[in-house]
Amino acid sequence: MNDIIVKSITRLVIPFLQLYGIYIILHGHISPGGGFSGGALIGSSLILYTLVFGVDRAQKKFSHRVSEIAESGGILLYLFVGALGIALTGNFLSNKAAGFPLGELGSLLSGGIIPVLMIGIGIKVASTMITLFHVLIQEESQ
Amino acid sequence: MFQPKYKWYDNFTTLTGGLIILGAIILVYVLAGLNGSFGLNNPFERFTMLKTLSEFKWMPLLIIFTPAVGGGIQLFFSRKTCYSRDTVVIVMSFSTILMTLLMYPTALDGGQLLSFPGFLGLGLSLKVDMLSLVMLLITSILWFLVMVYAHAYMIKEKRCNRFFFFMALTYSSVLGTLVSADLLTMFLFFEMMTITSYMLVTHGQKEESYSAGYNYIFMGLLGGFAIFVALVLMVVYVGDLSFTSAIVALQATGSIRYWIIGLLVMGFGIKAGMAPVHVWLPRAHPVAPTPASALLSGIMIKVGAYGVLRVATSYYFPVKNTVDSRFDPIWLTSETIGFSIIWLGMITMAIGVFLALQQSNIKRMLAYHSISQMGYIVMGIGVALYLGYYGAMGFAGSLYHIINHALFKSLLFMVAGSVYLHTRENDMYKLGGLWRKLPLSATVALIAALGISGIPLFNGFVSKTILHHGIVEAYEYGHASFRYAEWIFIVISAGTVCSFIKLYYYVFLGKMPDIYKSIKPKLNSLDVSMAAIAMMILFIGLNPSLILDLFIIPELRVISYDPQFINTYIVGMSVFTVSDMSIMVPIVILGFLIFIAGTKFHLFHLKLPGWLRIEYIFFYPSFHLMRGACRLLYGDQCPIDKKEYFKMDIKHNYDVGFLDRFVVLSHMFDKRFEKKIINSDALIYTILITLVIIIMMFV
């Protein structure tokens, strides 16, 4: 799109979108939402960038390589945390039993491993959305 | 200049001739020693090492594996000359004969059981007892001689290596069938035999080889499956598959026991060429190379008869010495079975001879004669079962006839092959006067023809006499209808005589057509092997009681037949009595009369209507069912009548087999329905769920 109004507004809005998404991810254990919805928000912000500025610029910002690392990294983080559970007590994804600090109910740093898992999931979902979008757009243009 | 004399034999002939003479000497020595004639002692007692070797536990396995290993070795030699390859083959078969001979004392004692538990789930077991030993001996001797023959014959064919390799594998499987001690082992080797012999039948790779081979393997597999069902029934109802008496457990199963024996007879009967499932025999023999035909007719169909004999006399007879009268109700099952088997044998005999008289192709005629002679053997087995306690005569007759038929039928096939090799002609009406060019072949053909006709002083006479005694006893001790059976027996023997008069007259006597005036006969291994078999025929014909005393009577004593009966009627039986020989006179005269009438009234060229073929009668309902199904599916547009499927047209109706029609039907079905089924996936799912819910809710 070559409209200057759309481009400027988008440039202003996208950081706020992403901030909101991160907020939802981080507060996954306190309020409704969590990894999936937050990740979807971040993903949609990147889709907005692609729509407005074109695939080529978006590819430079979020290239194939970066998305590969992000996707694998998200799940690897998840698995790593779970494996920590094995190393510490015995079972996969142990939370309280593994002795992670649970904190007090309602505060940000509570819930043991849950925020970390949310982060992993959020990264993964965001990168999946943007990758699928890029692939579909590129298929169509071929 | 020194001109080398024309060498009228080659190296191979010398080698094999020497081996044959060596084998004959060994055989005569052992047999004479066992019999005590010529003042010789029992060689097994004299050389104790032989006795130890005979009791070697793994001997049956060694006998089975020698041909297989030999086959592998000959594959290795196969890229060198034919001579070295065939030498391996000959040595391998000769050593098998020696090993079989070695087994005699153990077999006399009843045989040692060699079992392999856990194999194939239920375990395999091998044992060489007297019945197996008789069959093994005739198999190994005949196989050796046919291998000698095959060397000279197969020089003209291509892809011999494949032929000899599969011949070796078939030999292994046949030996395996003969030494097995339970039904599962026999089934294993039986299936292997079917598959490996298929490659021999289709060796020629011509159009008719493929269709004959297709028919052969499907009927073979069908027989195998019949035995498979009987096997499953036996395991569930009786539990123990080894060849020991199971009649007590079987009687408790009610009518299942008739199913079991019916399936077994059908399964082995397909292999044995019993009517009505004999249809593969006349197709397979003309297309197979002659050594393969000789062995197919000589040994492999006997395996079918052996199977019936073994199964019936092991499972359906009581344990020895527990019964002492003919009227014990335990014989009831075997009486009923025996009755049907005798009549099946009679029908087989009749069909065989009648159709044999109509043939002009020599090999096809011999194939029909195989069917007819197998009818004799099956009839003998039937008598052995029917008369129960007194059935020893039938058993002896069928076993003796197995030996004799193997000898003279393979000799006849070899003669046909020799004629083909020299003249490239299979039709007997186009040949003539060959006794001048092929004197040796003519002589041995005469001996074989006299043998099969049952003329005294030749081996056929002995076994046919014993079988005749058997059928007379069936009439005396049993049902009155066997009187007619005896008359049929006489007429069919006359038919056999007639047929061989016809063969000999048209092929060897008479005027020779001009094209054959230039063939130059050479003495090679063909003639050596033929001469050896002819010698054996004469030997058995002149000393019939040798085989009886050494092999058959010890076997009879193992089975639960009446010892008194055996001692009175069979021990020391002389076949050269006036009453027996005088039966032959009317038979021979009747044979000549049929021949003269046949040539005068052209009875030998009857064109039978197409619908009379066995296959068509059997499958008639299903033909019409399939045609009807097609009409139903397609309405007027049934492609059966259209050009694409011209095979189904009325004219070609009789030639197309059941399987071809089935395949065409499935093609049509698929063409119409497959795409529709694939496209209606969701519909099928919905229909299925609704149906199942309805079934569940209301049942």
Binding site: - | G121, L188, M199, F662, I695
Partner: protein, 494 residues
């Protein structure tokens, strides 16, 4: 430490799948070696688990240590250990084959993707077999369907798209059907853990029979759709004709069997034998199995493409397994499990040897196999061996399956099914024998007389030979498998 082995397997597999895309494209060898090492480690641990479970006893694995009422549970008993071992062994051998199969349409840059998919596939299958929770089974089932679909349509050809699409749709129908059943069960029992559901179902059977009947039907039909049981087998032939050979082998030999395992679990661990018999499900399964056996072979006779023919042949053999399950006795289940092994190996040999022939000479039509036996003796020899196994010749594992299935049927009073076995053997002979006969007994196009070695890579021939040796070993000495299977069958109560 031994208790952690199952989850370590799962973690290892998923990690490998995630790590492969991080390697640079040029260093493809690293991917292969890493994959093989991981597969080998997982194989060793599956073997050790099998040994451990058979000697010490079954154990549960709870995620996070939560109790089964709220948490996720894995059950490692002889049954699951046996089938995970089966899956990993067969997949390892097919993996070795696929590393050499560079033709058949897998592009160069697709390589890494193929192995990522294979690892996720393996992860999902392990998950399904280990898990003791119905909903978790659904999750893994979805992962399995998607990756199987991807592994089948990996060749980017236009005509594959319709087949792949149909495959996805039908599999979704199957999964959703299964989910519906699970939801109904959750509704009446309140749990998704298999053992708790079993208790619940026994308790509420008299109160809510309709619920349980409908749940059973939907679950069985849904699983039947994914396991290619007869009227619902529609997607299988198309999937096979479009896929590369190693994917066909994976699909037909392993993936379909996993769904049959879920079926066994659902029937015997969730509903229990009393409810099943009250609903007449055994007779229904036996009839469907028998019809599938005959119709599968009937359609196979009419095919021209050899891979479609092998696909329909799979449908027929799955009918055998369903017949065994339907007998609902320990003998029947025993032979069904043995046939899972036997058919898995035989079908892999068939697909892999056909793949070798396609690699060297690109022959897919059934009528084009004249004389190939002289040019590719090893591949066609193994094809013959597996085909003879399908027909039911002794010395192969196919004969043992048929034989014991006949005995089991007769023992259960259903002797009529022996006829179906015989008919099936003859039908199998009708479509396998012409290929073998043409391969060895007709003249090949180059009139070659002497037998020459296959020109396919060693890595393609070795797996085929190994699997062929297994067919004979299992066929001659079936006690090897039967001992393991007996302990697996004893975990179900009749």
């Amino acid at each position: 430490m031994i208790e952690q082995l199952p989850i370590i397997n799962l973690i290892l597999l998923l990690t490998t799948a995630l790590v492969i895309p991080l390697f640079k494209k040029q260093r493809f060898m690293v991917t292969l070696i890493l994959s093989f090492v991981v597969l080998f480690i997982v194989w060793l641990s599956a073997l050790y688990l099998l040994y451990h479970v058979n000697t010490t006893g079954a154990f549960y694995y709870r995620f996070g240590g939560y109790s089964p009422t709220i948490g996720l549970e894995l059950l490692i008993n002889p049954f699951s250990a046996l089938f995970t071992f089966f899956v990993i062994t067969l997949l390892m051998i097919i993996f070795i084959y696929s590393t050499a199969d560079a033709s058949d349409g897998i592009h160069e840059r697709e390589y890494g993707r193929y192995y990522i998919l294979m690892f996720i596939l393996l992860f999902a299958m392990f998950g399904i077999i280990y898990t003791n929770d119905l909903f978790n089974t659904y999750v893994f089932m979805e992962i399995l369907s998607i990756t199987t679909c991807a592994i089948i349509s990996i060749k980017r050809k236009k005509k594959n798209y319709a087949a792949a699409f149909r495959y996805v749709m039908l599999n979704e129908m199957g999964s959703l059907s299964y989910l519906f059943g699970v939801a109904l069960l959750y509704m009446v029992t309140g749990y998704t853990n298999i053992e708790l559901v079993f208790q619940g179902v026994q308790d509420v059977w008299v109160i809510y029979p309709t619920n349980i009947i409908i749940a059973a039907i939907f679950m069985i039909v849904g699983l039947g759709l994914k396991a290619a049981i007869f009227p619902l087998h529609i997607w299988l032939p198309d999937a096979h004709s479009a896929a590369p050979s190693s994917s066909s082998a994976i699909l037909s030999a392993i993936v379909v069997k996993v769904y049959l395992i879920i079926l066994v679990k659902v029937l015997f661990s969730v509903f229990g034998i009393t409810i099943i018999e009250a609903l007449h499900i055994p007779s229904l399964l036996m009839v469907i199995g028998a019809v599938g056996i005959v119709m599968g072979s009937f359609f196979a006779i009419a095919q021209h493409d050899i891979k479609r023919m092998l696909g329909y042949s799979s449908v027929a053999q799955i009918g055998y397994i369903v017949l065994g399950i339907g007998l609902a006795s320990s003998l029947g289940l025993r032979i069904a499990f043995y046939h899972v092994f036997s058919h898995g190996i035989m079908k892999s040999v068939l697909f892999l040897s056909v793949g070798a022939v396609i690699y060297q000479r690109n022959l897919r039509k059934v009528t084009a196999y004249n004389g190939i036996g002289y040019m590719m003796p090893l591949s066609i020899g193994m094809f013959t061996l597996a085909a003879l196994g399908m027909i039911g010749i002794p010395l192969t594992s196919g004969f043992i399956s048929k034989f014991n299935l006949g005995i089991a049927a007769l023992d259960g009073g259903q002797g009529i099914y022996i006829i179906i076995l015989v008919v099936s053997g003859i039908l199998n002979a009708i479509y396998y024998l012409p290929i073998i006969i043409a391969a060895f007994l007709r003249e090949n196009p180059e009139n070659q007389i002497y037998v020459s070695k296959d020109k396919v890579p060693l890595l393609m021939i070795m797996p085929i030979l190994i699997l062929g040796a297994f067919i004979v070993i299992i066929g001659v000495y079936p006690a090897i498998i039967f001992d393991l299977v007996d302990s697996a069958v004893s975990t179900f109560s009749f």
